[in-house]
Amino acid sequence: MVGSFLEGLLSGSILAGTPLLYATLGEVIDERAGIVNLGLEGVMLMGAVVGFTTTVETGNAAVGVFAGALAGALFNMVFGFLVIARRANQLASGLALMFCGVGLSALLGAPYIGSQIKGLNEIIILPLSDLPLVGATLFRYDILVYLVVPIAILVWWVLFYTRWGLSLRAVGENPAAAFAAGKNPYRLQYQALFIAGLLGGIAGAHLSLALTKTWAEWMTAGRGFVAVALVIFSKWHPLRAIAGALLFGGAISLQLQMQARGVPVSPFLLDMLPYLLSLGVLAVWGGARRHAAPASLGQVFRGTE
């Protein structure tokens, strides 16, 4: 019985954690470049709605995923224009982006509520999926779940082992110095936001095409903000984000799993855990943690931007 509890918990965490991880990876990239995007929720919603409507129209979920990713990227470019070209306040712009995403996605999605799609189906990798415990939990998911960890590793590798990643992080630490060293901070930041938008769009598309296979207004229900917290929790590091997403995804699914098993637990106190954990992690490693944030990102947080 414990086995099936662990199985259920693990598979629930993986399913709930996947969109979180995609969104977090995107946010890690742009925060490493010095930009905070509080509008991640809006980006995910655009990915979800465009993904869903495209799938309804074309009948092909893969096309839907691509369309959702692209929609997220383009939406993020609006944000990029505001904060890079116009040097607008990042926090306010992010919140504005979120409101815009909520409204725009509602407008686009309204005619499609109640539509049916086949969505992204599970890819069962035989015979791996017949392995006890591990098989059922690890090898019965849609392709986006399988791809998320390799993509996280790819992001890590790009950020820390390529020249582009190095330049990006330099911009995040000290844009003036990076500029003096011959980099173009603006172009790098736009590129970061574009990629972040792709990932955020995929996160949203996973929600509407794989997990629920439907569309409803504001269906991300705050997951974009959880991702922002997750970035902090993982100390802006893509690999730690994997563990973090699993943990946060686990928290979301844990209280539902426990209910299904008849264990008395307050869902609200459990739901608070991810946020309290993030705060705790930051508070405990306070001094060191402060230096984990990209320095010019700190400027935003200190309000001198």
Partner: protein, 353 residues
């Protein structure tokens, strides 16, 4: 001492510069409305008729106008909640959570002391609302003074904890036994309800944002504390060397900011809803943040911006009823207004005063 004539000409110059800024602001809003009209056209709607309905519904009737005021009460409070700490460059994105905790404390008071007469109970729960929001924000303030967590991050995260905490109480210990197990508290007694003015929903709570604005302006420009705050905001190092305790101001201003948002929560739960429910606020905390930034933390600007956003939010109804648009489409209009204003702010932070 400057002569009277010099004072007058200074005031006049100030007024003209101010008027130019105002006109520019209106022009920006016009741009946002124009883009929204294009979006409406793209979806096959008649933008002219939509705007006519929009404005006649919100401004064209006493009720409509009163509803704008009703919305402005919490918006101005949550905006000043952001503006006060922003004077020393503290970023308070936690207005929503502070609002909820303020409502929580106020609800506790209303439910526990329901036999007290109105002239004790109402001030009591107002105080509790202020206290609740203030304490919640103080957590972030303390984390900041200790140098552990930036207040931007902590206030943001505390929002969600606050909403979940309210859910916990409303689904659990405070659930109304009369409401078929529905997650809401018992109804507030009349003594705990802010009285309404006339036939409208505008309620006595409007004195709070009014007082907040006046006090904010007065303290900032006429008192020593305001001077010290502006010193910290201008040059923290110099201020510290002059003996001004920055930590004290961080704690104080976060507390006051949170308290104001908490008052907004108390107003909503006491005057508008009549009981505590999970769906207490449609994002007033976040919209207040946007109002404050649009206005550059300036009290008059806050009133103007809150007024505008309230109109837009209230106008969504008629767009849905008469034009078949989903109600959340007004979020796009709100966002456009913000985009347009934000894209200008890089050069100049809000209205100069």
């Amino acid at each position: 001492m400057i002569s009277t004539s010099e004072q007058v000409s200074k005031a006049f110059h100030f007024r003209k510069e101010w008027l130019v800024s105002l006109i520019r602001f209106i022009g920006l809003f016009g741009l946002a409305f124009l883009v929204f009209a294009i979006i409406l056209l793209a979806f096959g709607k008649n933008p002219v008729k939509a705007y006519v309905d929009f404005f006649s519904n919100t401004l064209g009737s006493t009720y409509g106008f009163s509803e704008i005021l009703v919305k402005m009460i919490p918006l101005v409070l949550t905006a000043v909640a952001v503006a006060v700490p922003s004077r020393i460059w503290l970023i308070n994105v936690g207005g929503e959570g502070q609002l909820y905790i303020g409502a929580l404390f106020a609800t506790w008071g209303a439910l526990t002391f329901d036999t007290l007469p109105v002239w004790i109970l109402l001030p009591l729960i107002s105080l509790l609302g202020f206290l609740g929001g203030g304490l919640w924000a103080s957590i972030s303030g303390i984390l900041r003074t200790k140098g552990w967590v930036s207040e931007t991050i902590s206030t943001l995260l505390m929002n969600y904890v606050a909403i979940l905490l309210v859910n916990f109480f409303v689904f659990g210990p405070w659930k109304d036994p009369e409401s078929a197990n529905y997650p809401q508290t018992a109804q507030f007694v009349d003594a705990a309800t802010l009285p309404a003015i006339g036939d409208t929903r505008v309620h006595a709570g409007f004195i709070f944002p009014l007082a907040a604005l006046i006090l904010f302006y007065f303290v900032l420009s006429r008192t020593r504390w305001g001077l010290e705050m502006r010193a910290i905001g201008g040059n923290p190092e110099a201020a510290r060397r002059n003996g001004i305790s920055i930590a004290k101001y961080i704690l104080l201003l976060m507390f006051i900011g949170g308290g104001l948002a908490g008052l907004a929560g108390m107003c909503e739960v006491s005057a508008i809803q009549g009981r505590l429910r999970p769906s207490l606020s449609p994002g007033y905390g976040f919209i207040g943040f946007l109002v404050s930034w649009m206005a550059g933390g300036n009290p008059l600007g806050i009133v103007a911006a809150a007024f505008l956003l309230a109109i837009v939010t209230a106008g969504g109804d008629i767009l849905q009823m008469a034009h078949g648009l989903p109600g959340s489409v007004v979020s796009i209009l709100n966002a456009l207004i913000l985009f347009v204003v934000l894209s200008r702010q890089g050069r100049k932070v809000g209205l100069k005063w």
